[in-house]
C-alpha cells in the first residue's frame, strides 16, 4: 500500500470512496446533494462501519438521496411520510443498528407529520434529517407546510398559511436532540451530524436545503419561466437551469449571515450564541418562536436532553438484536405449552 493510500484510509481501513453511493440523479446544485456529501464525509471521518448503519427515507427528492451515499450500508426507501415507522420497526428488530433517516419538508411536515411526532415521542434511535426546501421538489413546486407565509412561487401562487416549524414540533413532541443548519454550511452540518450520530434517541436535524429548480421569479435568469422561454424544444418539460450549489463562508457564533436563495430571495441565518443554553426547553421554544417572528433561522444545536430512555430501553429488550436471536430463544419448550393446555381444560 502506498503512503498516499494509507493517508486516505480511516481507522478501520476504509477510504472515503468506500462510503460513496450511486451517482446522484438530483438537480445539479440541489442542497440535498451537499447534505449527502457531508454524510459521506462524516461517516468516513468517524470510521463508521457501513454494516452497522442503515439508511432510511420516505419519498421525495430528498428521500432519494440515501441511494447516493454509503453504498455498503443497507437502505430502505419507503413510502411518502412513512420513514419513521420503518425506522421504528428496524430499531426494535435490531437495536444495534445506527440509522440515518432522510426526509423532506413535505414528507415530514405534511403527510408524515403524525409519524414524525410519534417517532420522536417514542425516542426511536435514529438521526432524522429533514432536508427542508419549503417546496415539494419531486412533484414540481407546490408549497410545503414549511413555506413562509406570504411567499410567492410561480407555480403555487402566494402561500396563505403559517409555516410549520420542524424544530418546534420536535421539541414539543419530546425530542432530546434538535438542531438546525443550512446545507451550504458544510462544517456546521458535519458537526451536527457527528453529534447526532452519537445520540441515544431520535436526533432531529432540520437542514435548510434550497431547491434550485423551482426558482420561479419571472425576472430571474435562473427562473423556470426564463428557462422555458429560452429552452431548446427537445427538452420540453423537465428543463432545469444548471446552477451553482449555494455555499457560505464560516460565520461566528452570535452573528448573522444573509444568504441569497435560488429564487432571489434572502434568508437570514443566526448562529446561536456560545452562551446559549440548549438544555433549557422553554428557552429553546422561546428562541425559535422569536426567530420565526423576525424571519430568521437560528442554526446550531437548539435543544438537547440526553436523559430520556430510547424505545429499546423502555421495552427492556435483550441485548442481542431480536432479529438475531437463535430459535431456542424464540420458541418456548413443549412443557410450557402442555402446562397452558392443562389450564384450559
Amino acid at each position: 500500500m502506498s503512503t498516499k493510500q494509507q493517508e486516505r484510509s480511516n481507522l478501520i481501513g476504509l477510504t472515503k470512496v468506500d462510503y460513496n453511493g450511486g451517482p446522484s440523479t438530483l438537480c445539479q446544485g440541489c442542497g440535498h446533494n451537499s447534505i449527502a456529501n457531508q454524510i459521506i464525509q462524516v461517516a468516513y471521518e468517524l470510521s463508521i462501519r457501513p454494516q452497522e448503519l442503515i439508511k432510511l427515507s420516505g419519498i421525495g427528492c430528498s428521500s432519494k438521496s440515501p441511494a447516493y451515499f454509503l453504498g455498503q450500508s443497507f437502505g430502505f426507501n419507503s413510502l411518502h411520510g412513512r420513514m419513521p415507522s420503518i425506522g421504528t420497526g428496524a430499531f426494535v428488530a435490531n437495536r444495534n443498528l445506527r440509522a440515518i433517516g432522510v426526509s423532506g419538508d413535505g414528507d415530514t411536515g405534511s403527510i408524515g407529520m403524525g409519524q414524525f411526532k410519534h417517532v420522536v415521542r417514542r425516542n426511536t434511535r435514529m438521526v432524522y434529517i429533514v432536508e427542508n426546501n419549503g417546496v415539494y421538489g419531486l412533484t414540481k413546486g407546490q408549497f410545503s407546510a414549511t413555506a413562509d407565509e406570504g411567499q410567492v412561487l410561480k407555480y403555487a401562487g402566494e402561500n396563505e398559511f403559517p409555516p410549520v416549524d420542524i424544530c418546534l414540533e420536535a421539541i414539543i413532541a419530546g425530542a432530546g436532540f434538535v438542531a438546525r443548519s443550512f446545507s451550504g454550511d458544510a462544517k456546521q452540518v458535519r458537526e451536527l451530524l457527528k453529534a447526532a450520530l452519537s445520540f441515544n434517541g431520535t436526533a432531529v436535524l432540520d437542514i435548510i436545503s434550497p431547491c434550485v429548480a423551482f426558482n420561479n421569479q419571472d425576472t430571474s435568469t435562473k427562473s423556470y419561466s426564463y428557462g422555458k422561454e429560452h429552452e431548446t424544444p427537445l427538452h420540453d418539460f423537465g428543463w432545469v437551469p444548471p446552477s451553482e450549489e449555494i455555499v457560505i463562508d464560516e460565520y461566528e457564533p452570535g452573528t448573522m449571515k444573509v444568504v441569497e436563495m435560488p429564487d432571489g430571495s434572502y434568508i437570514q441565518l443566526r448562529k446561536l450564541d456560545e452562551d446559549y443554553d440548549p438544555t433549557d426547553k422553554l428557552g429553546a421554544l422561546h428562541r425559535l418562536q422569536w426567530a420565526q417572528q423576525n424571519h430568521e433561522f437560528i442554526t446550531g444545536l437548539v435543544y438537547y436532553n440526553p436523559h430520556r430512555p430510547n424505545l429499546a430501553e423502555v421495552g427492556k429488550l435483550v441485548d442481542t438484536p431480536l432479529a438475531y436471536l437463535p430459535a431456542e430463544k424464540l420458541r418456548p419448550p413443549k412443557e410450557k405449552l402442555d402446562e397452558i393446555m392443562a389450564e384450559l381444560m
Binding site: F74, S85, G89
Partner: protein, 614 residues
C-alpha cells in the same frame, strides 16, 4: 315423499329427539353489567359436565347500556354452529324483553326478573320468575355491583332448572377467577342463594335439562384470538405493532399476557420480543416492514378499517419482498359497519390489496386449533415467500370460546427462508432479486450482515435483479413475471384444503373459515334426507390443484360465505374460468354467524331452481 319434493322447511326445521343435552339458550342482558362472567360460568359448567358446548356473544358497539345477547348451544351431537332459535331465554333486559319473548319457539322457556311489572304473556311457553332485587338487597351491595350480582342470580336459577350440579359452577368460576377463592366464594354465595331459592319455590315444568357426558374430556376451551396469540408466541414472534380495534384487540391482549410469561429471557430477565402500540394501522404495518426487513418475525392484528389503512404498505411489502404477518379479525363493513358483528367481507380486498399488480397470500383458519397453527406457520410462509401474509379470522372465531383438542407442539423447526449469511454471500455472491432456484423466490440478506457486498437497497421503485433503480421496460417485466411465478410457488406451500368427499355426492360445497360448522350440520341434515354432498374447506389463497380438481369432478359447486357479494365465488371464477359456470354463489351477511338452517334452505332453494339436472 321423495327428497326432492320435500318443502325446504321440512328439512330445515330440525326434528328434536330429546330435550336432554340438546338445546340453545340465550341470555339477554344490558351491555356493561358484567354478564360476561355469568355467561362464561354457565358455558364452562356445561363443558366441565362433559357436554359439547359453544357460546357466542352477540354484543353491541357500546361500552354500557345497549342490549347484548349471549347464545349458548348445548349439543350431545357436538354441533357448535349458531342455532336460528333458542328454546331457553334468560330475560334480564327489560328493553328487549318483548322481542326476546316473541322469538321463543313454541314450548320455549322464559326465566325473567320477577320485579318487572309486566312482561308479554304467551300461553305456549313456560315462565319462571326470579325475584332478583331480593337477592341483590340481601348481599348488601351498592351501585354498579348490584347489576353484576343480578347476573349471578340467573346463574343459580338456570343451574337449578337445567340440573347443572352447583359444584360445576364453582369449578367454572374457579377457572374464571384464576383460583382466587375470595372472588369465587362471594359470587358463589349469590349463585347458591338463588339456586336454593329456586329449588324451594320453582316447579320445573319444561323438559330441558342437562346430563353429564364424557364428550369433552381432554378438551380445552379457548377463543381464537387467544389461540392465535399462543401460536405466535410459539412461532417466535419478535415484533408486534398494532392499533386497537374490535375484534382484534384481544389477540394483542393475549400476546401481552403470554409473552412476558413465556418469552422473558431467563438469564437476563429481559424481553425477547417487542410490542409497540402504534399511532395508527398505517404506522403499525410500517413497523412490521421495517422489522421484517431487519430480520424479525413481525405481526399485527387488526380488522377491516385497519386493513384499509395498510393498503399502500402492503403493496410495498409485496414488491420489495418483505415478510410480515397481518391478522385480520373480520367484522362487518363497509366503513365502521357493524363493528361488533361477524363476517367474511375482507377476502377480496386482502387477496389483491395494493395498487398495481398485487397478489397476497391469505390464510383462512376455521378453528381455534388452526388459529394456533397458523399463528406460527404464517411466519414460516411470510419468511419463505418473503411477502406479507394475511390471516383472516373473524369475530365469531376470534372472540368466542370454542372446544378443541389440545394444541400440539410444532413438529417442524422455524422455517426462516432463504437468508444468506456473510459466508454464504462470500461463497455464492448475492443478487437480491435474482431467481437462482427457479421458484421465483430470491435470496435475501438482513442488516447486520458483515459482508461488504451483502447490503441492498429496499425500494418501492422499479428495480433490477440487484435492487438498483431501473425504469427499463424489460427489467420491470422480468421482475413482475418472477413475482407472479413466486405466487405460483406459494400455491404449493400454503395449507392445503380439507376435503370430506361423499362417494355419490350430488354436488360439492366450497367454503372457508367458521361457516364450516353450519355447513357440517347442514350436510348431515341433508344427508339424512338422502341429499349427499362433498365438502372442500379452503384453508388458504392462492388455491392449489386440489381445488381445481374438486370443482372439475362435481357437476355443481356451491360456494358458501358470509358476505353479500360472494367474494370467494368471484375469486374462484377468475382462478378457474373454464369451470366458472359450475360455481354457484350462496352468500349471506346479516352480522350473525351462519346457521345450518340457512345453509339447508339456501341449497334447497338453489337446487330447486336449477333442478333440471337431477
Amino acid at each position: 315423499m321423495g327428497v326432492l319434493e320435500a318443502a325446504p322447511e321440512d328439512v330445515a326445521v330440525r326434528k328434536r329427539p330429546s330435550p336432554v343435552n340438546d338445546f340453545s339458550m340465550v341470555v339477554a342482558t344490558v351491555n356493561g353489567t358484567g354478564s360476561q362472567t355469568a355467561n362464561l360460568a354457565l358455558l364452562r359448567a356445561f363443558f366441565k359436565m362433559g357436554i359439547p358446548v359453544n357460546g357466542k356473544n352477540i354484543f353491541p358497539s357500546n361500552i354500557q347500556g345497549l342490549p347484548t345477547w349471549y347464545h349458548i348451544r348445548v349439543s350431545h351431537e357436538g354441533y357448535v354452529a349458531r342455532r336460528h332459535t333458542s328454546e331457553i331465554l334468560v330475560a334480564f333486559n327489560q328493553t328487549t324483553v318483548h322481542e326476546d319473548i316473541q322469538n321463543l319457539p313454541e314450548g320455549g322457556v322464559c326465566i325473567y326478573n320477577a320485579d318487572w311489572r309486566s312482561i308479554p304473556q304467551r300461553d305456549d311457553i313456560t315462565y319462571y320468575a326470579v325475584p332478583v332485587n331480593q337477592f341483590v338487597r340481601d348481599t348488601g351491595m351498592k351501585g354498579k355491583l348490584r347489576d353484576y350480582i343480578a347476573n349471578m342470580v340467573y346463574v343459580g336459577a338456570v343451574a337449578f332448572l337445567l340440573d347443572i350440579p352447583i359444584e360445576k359452577i364453582d369449578e367454572a368460576l374457579h377457572h374464571h377467577f384464576n383460583g382466587r377463592r375470595k372472588l369465587v366464594d362471594s359470587n358463589m354465595s349469590v349463585v347458591r342463594a338463588a339456586y336454593d331459592w329456586s329449588a324451594a319455590n320453582l316447579e320445573k315444568q319444561d323438559p330441558y335439562r342437562v346430563e353429564p357426558m364424557d364428550a369433552t374430556a381432554g378438551q380445552i376451551l379457548i377463543t381464537g384470538n387467544d389461540a392465535a396469540a399462543l401460536g405466535a408466541v410459539f412461532g417466535g414472534v419478535t415484533v408486534t405493532a398494532w392499533y386497537p380495534i374490535t375484534p382484534s384487540t384481544s389477540l394483542v391482549d393475549a400476546l401481552n399476557t403470554y409473552l412476558p410469561q413465556l418469552r422473558t429471557d431467563p438469564e437476563t430477565g429481559k424481553a425477547t420480543y417487542a410490542v409497540v402500540q402504534a399511532e395508527d394501522e398505517l404506522s403499525a404495518i410500517g413497523m412490521l416492514l421495517g422489522a421484517g426487513w431487519a430480520g424479525a418475525r413481525a405481526m399485527t392484528a387488526t380488522s377491516g378499517p385497519g386493513i384499509s389503512l395498510m393498503a399502500e404498505f402492503t403493496g410495498l411489502g409485496y414488491f420489495a419482498e418483505i415478510p410480515a404477518v397481518i391478522w385480520d379479525i373480520q367484522r362487518v363493513g363497509p366503513s365502521t359497519g357493524l363493528p361488533t358483528r361477524t363476517g367474511q367481507g375482507d377476502i377480496l380486498f386482502t387477496y389483491y390489496l395494493g395498487h398495481g399488480d398485487t397478489q397476497n397470500v391469505v390464510l383462512l383458519p376455521a378453528t381455534v386449533k388452526e388459529c394456533f397453527e397458523f399463528g406460527s406457520t404464517s411466519f414460516d410462509l411470510a419468511e419463505q415467500l418473503q411477502t406479507p401474509v394475511f390471516v383472516l379470522s373473524d369475530l365469531d372465531l376470534g372472540m368466542n370460546n370454542w372446544m378443541s383438542e389440545p394444541f400440539t407442539y410444532p413438529a417442524e423447526p422455524l422455517q426462516r427462508g432463504k437468508v444468506l449469511s456473510a459466508d454464504e454471500v462470500q461463497e455464492k455472491g448475492f443478487a437480491r432479486y435474482k431467481d437462482i432456484d427457479g421458484d421465483g423466490i430470491p435470496y435475501r440478506t438482513i442488516p447486520g450482515n458483515e459482508h461488504p457486498k451483502a447490503a441492498w437497497f429496499a425500494r418501492g421503485t422499479g428495480h433490477n435483479a440487484n435492487a438498483v433503480y431501473s425504469e427499463r421496460p424489460e427489467d420491470w417485466v422480468s421482475n413482475m413475471a418472477r413475482l407472479a411465478h413466486k405466487f405460483e410457488t406459494a400455491r404449493e406451500l400454503v395449507p392445503s384444503p380439507v376435503l370430506d368427499e361423499a362417494a355419490d355426492a350430488e354436488f360439492g360445497i366450497l367454503a372457508y373459515g367458521t361457516t364450516q360448522f353450519a355447513i357440517d350440520e347442514a350436510r348431515n341434515r341433508l344427508a339424512a334426507e338422502g341429499i349427499k354432498s362433498s365438502f372442500m374447506r379452503l384453508r388458504a389463497l392462492p388455491i392449489n390443484q386440489d381445488v381445481r380438481d374438486f370443482i372439475a369432478r362435481h357437476k355443481r359447486v356451491y360456494v358458501i360465505e358470509l358476505n353479500r357479494d360472494g367474494q370467494m365465488h368471484k375469486i374462484l371464477q377468475t382462478e378457474v374460468p373454464a369451470l366458472a359456470t359450475k360455481l354457484v354463489s350462496l352468500a349471506h351477511l346479516d352480522g350473525m354467524p351462519l346457521t345450518a338452517r340457512w345453509v339447508v334452505e339456501a341449497i334447497l332453494e338453489k337446487r330447486e331452481a336449477v333442478n333440471g339436472d337431477r
